[in-house]
Subunit: 579 residues, 2 copies
């Protein structure tokens, strides 16, 4: 049977042709980009034109004003010593000028690094358009499967046919991504070899804090070795921890955090509708709890833990399960045997008692000659740690003992915190029930919201932001600027009013101890407990415990009155700055 | 700090007033409906006007034409004997007429039954509007927390203030839902007492196949006891298994299945972007695999199992893990160590070898005097069953042995199929690797998509459909019709062209053996292996195995060019019928 519906929903002629072209392209890549089979929605998004500042519209009119030399906010001398050629460059601001004549042809490369985030394809699209508008003879080169593609010189020459179908689309699959880090001297040498082989004028690294730190090291290395190739960065990560005075938000956070908030809200309404379960929702964000905080601001859950607060206040696992059990008891007294609790991915790692247990466990496991049983392990621990160890569900205790990372360390990140908490709280409430302190019912349902939003279709905000970032990055790359991160600021205003700039990556760095060395890396932005998003949450959360003030941001809208909503964290941050 | 952003995103004055009113309403309920704190998106949805047929617009102009007496498609005589008063009623079609004068005041009640589905609030809104337009003096009564509210006469008198804030909103929390079944003679007597106490003219049961079967029993019981109270039903369930020649789709399926498809698609693009994991996505739908099928049609995953096909072809767990391992090996040979696999919730229960193991296990566990160890259990099983038992991950085998339902039976439904498959496939691939038959990498990531879409904001389709169903149901209820299900058909056309009708619930019934009795229940619609949705999938799936033809329907849109897309299952079904 030939289905009309299937045909109606398949790609129409122009895109089918693109697919044919893609299939026929002879790739040097080990992995061909997937042929695109767009849905009607994807086709509709292809037609979206990202909104940008007039300053970014005419590539040949882009000039910069340079400010004073910059410095770093932390560890200035060590950072200076690690980047002797590039430390202290001025910030670069865009200014209008008369269009120049066509500049010489250039070879500009791009690489995606780390986990995907909505909007990555638009950074590449924006860059591609700018480079080609400047000089249609210029080449845009995409390294395949992340930084590994640089080391092995696996790449794709980007064309209209390749870039076209990925405009405003989710995913990083046009060229793929990867987590390889360029760290050793051999790796730097391989990167230099590739830059020379391709006669590269510039490389843009689209990635998180570590990837942008790496971009800076590559920029310095290339400069030190006299290569012409500039290296710049663009701020990506759904976790939103690559953020500072210059970077207002990292791309992808808007789409992803609102998606998690929407799912969390549906679970909240499910809880109150069915009236019989507590949903424990763990959301992505291992180092920083920005996503959990955004979910809380959007949804008004009964309880939400913020890792940074847990760490600062030395809140233990025992404290947390008690807080949850208290909530359940208080709500049960109101006839409410349901609720919603939000947990950041890294919660367990922030708890001081768990940290102490892990240190003790690592020591015992490292010094023991034979595999330990559960009981032997427990008796080898300090009294305090043994108490915590015995509180853990056996499955998780065993997992900690048996599954270890390549260095032999306990893998605390593998603990599914939502299941851990449900298990302990269940046990605790059974005891309270026995003692007459709880007469409700408790049923916990675990959820983990993570991978399902990293490749969603980018929101209008992320589509505009990333396309603009791509053009900013292209302006830096085509004008021999190196060691910069592309930025747009004033993001709660209209996209046409967003202010483009390039800031030296060294401005954002501090020194951290890694593998026994002092390394200059971009400082992660954790949740600021004095900042507007957290204080707004902290002022309201008590009123959310027993009431069911749930709300939902709904699904990401591309059209209509709510299509340009931005996430509340960004809005509150912006407000906090103007107050 | 008073936050402008928080204020901008809080409910504006009119809704805040509604909240105050709600708070001040003195409820007979054991659970007050939650105060609404709408987000800007929720406020925007409040303003949506559902699109309906002109036939439903003027309540006083609604009249019916009755067709011939109806029968049942199965077990006619037994069904007739169980519904002696109401069997064989004619189908009711709506026709225009001149508006009548105001009819007498009525008391019309509504109850939500079973798991929530997007659109439930709009069934109530549509009903409320119709009843009040017919006679503003009439009462609309909502039973609280499901059928239990009928038994205990816990209810809420619905008013503009209560219904208003829930228009076009997700969730069932306006009056709550529950899973109590009215089955015993005592329960029927309690229901009659409530109907008399409230002087009810009619009751609408919004629920799935079992709840609608119950509605029919209540209708017959009330009629047999001379009560005036009519009982009718409306077809709800995200699983879409309440469907037949009269019911084209059950409400909530459209919103929920597209939401799961969107998440599945994001995971697919994540797989190809990162290139290092297989995502195993289990989606809701225990008895029927309609949701898995819709996800497959929307996303084009590498593999999707359909429970009905597994059952029909006697596909075993061993077959399925082999199919997956083969896929992984073939893709690894192409350099692809990633992919996406969709699994229906009830998959494990459809497998004949698992079924045989469960029967054997139940027998052994029931006859054993002492708790069995893993090894004792395995040696007591038949050779075939023991082989399968030993193939299971120990955690799952232990779970089967230890966690049993109140009847002492093994709880196969508790098995997380996605984790089971990942575990077995991992072991299987390690063996293949050792034997030189696999040289790729395999990392499986489990996902379960279920609760997070049941209370999403309903799509325009579901908002229109449910509001219309509510008005159809009200027309039946206000015109002394009893034992009917409210329907709208022609659902791939414009909502204004949808055809309203009432069909006798007995038409949809068959006889099933439950607890040793022959019971008349609505026949569940499983995936039809000859139907257009399945055959379309079956024709394409081979081409999806190795290619990465992933696509996404995107998030539910309420405005713009894609706001009125319907799910592909419905579209293909409609096309199948016209072919």
């Amino acid at each position: 049977m030939t289905s009309k519906v299937a045909i109606a929903n398949a790609a129409p002629a122009p895109v089918a042709e693109v697919a044919d072209v893609l299939q026929s392209v002879s790739l040097s890549a080990h992995r061909a980009p997937p042929v695109t089979h767009h849905s009607p929605m994807q086709l509709a998004r292809l037609a979206y034109t990202p909104r940008i500042s007039p300053l970014l519209r005419t590539p040949r009119a882009v000039t910069f004003t340079s400010g004073e030399p910059t410095t770093a906010s932390y560890d200035v001398e060590v950072i200076h010593s690690q980047f002797p050629h590039l430390f202290g460059q001025p910030a670069l601001h865009f200014q209008p000028s008369d269009p120049l004549s066509t500049p010489p042809k250039k070879n500009i490369a791009v690489v995606l690094s780390g986990g995907p985030a909505p909007g990555g394809h638009n950074v590449i699209s924006g860059m591609y358009d700018f480079v080609k508008e400047l000089n249609p003879e210029s080449n845009m080169i995409g390294f395949l499967s992340g930084p590994d593609g640089i080391l092995k010189n696996k790449h794709l020459i980007l064309t209209d046919e390749i870039v076209g179908p990925h405009r405003n689309q989710g995913g990083f699959h046009m060229i793929g991504s990867g987590r390889t880090k360029i760290e050793t001297e051999d790796q730097f040498a391989a990167a230099r070899a590739t830059a020379k082989a391709l006669d590269l004028d510039a490389l843009l690294v689209i990635g998180g804090d570590d990837s942008n730190s790496n971009a800076m090291k590559l920029a310095e290395d290339f400069k030190a070795h006299g290569l012409k190739c500039a290296v710049n960065g663009a701020p990506k990560t759904i976790d939103n921890d690559l953020r500072n005075a210059q970077v207002e938000v990292s791309f992808g956070f808007d789409t992803a955090s609102k998606s998690y908030a929407q799912s969390t809200a549906s679970l909240a309404f499910d809880a109150v509708s069915a009236g019989k379960a507590y949903h424990f929702v763990r959301v992505m964000g291992r180092s920083a709890s920005h996503i959990a905080l955004e979910c809380a601001l959007q949804v008004h859950p009964n309880l939400c833990f913020i890792g940074e607060e847990v760490k600062q206040n030395n809140i233990t696992l025992a404290d947390i399960v008690n807080q949850i059990a208290d909530l359940v008891c208080e709500r049960a007294a109101l006839g409410k045997n349901y609720g919603i609790i939000v947990i950041p991915e890294g919660l367990v790692e922030f708890m001081p008692d768990v940290e102490a247990l892990i240190v003790d466990l690592n020591e015992i496991l490292a010094t023991s000659e034979t595999p330990l049983t559960y009981d032997n392990c427990a008796s080898a621990l300090t009294e305090e740690n043994a108490k915590l160890f015995r509180m853990l569900p056996p499955a998780i205790a065993n997992q900690l003992m048996l599954e270890r990372d390549p260095h032999g360390n306990v893998q605390v990140a593998k603990i599914e915190a939502e299941r851990l908490l449900i298990s302990i709280v269940t046990t605790m409430l059974a005891v309270r029930k026995k003692n007459g302190k709880f007469d409700g019912k408790f049923s916990g349902v675990p959820h983990y919201l993570g991978y399902e939003a990293r490749c969603a279709l980018p929101s209008n905000f992320d589509a505009n932001y990333t396309y603009g970032l791509g053009r900013v990055a292209a302006a830096l790359c085509c004008n021999e600027k190196t060691g910069y991160i592309a930025t747009l600021s004033g993001l709660t205003k209209k996209p046409e009013e967003w202010i483009p700039a390039g800031y030296p990556l060294t401005m954002m760095m501090n020194i951290e101890r890694r593998h026994g060395k002092d390394v200059a890396v971009i400082k992660k932005m954790l949740v600021d407990l004095d900042g507007s998003p957290f204080t707004t949450f902290a002022e309201s959360r008590d009123s959310w415990r027993l009431a069911d003030n749930y709300r939902t941001p709904g699904t990401t809208q591309f059209w209509g009155p709510r299509a340009d909503d931005v996430n509340l964290s960004l809005a509150l941050d912006a407000e906090g700055k103007t107050n």
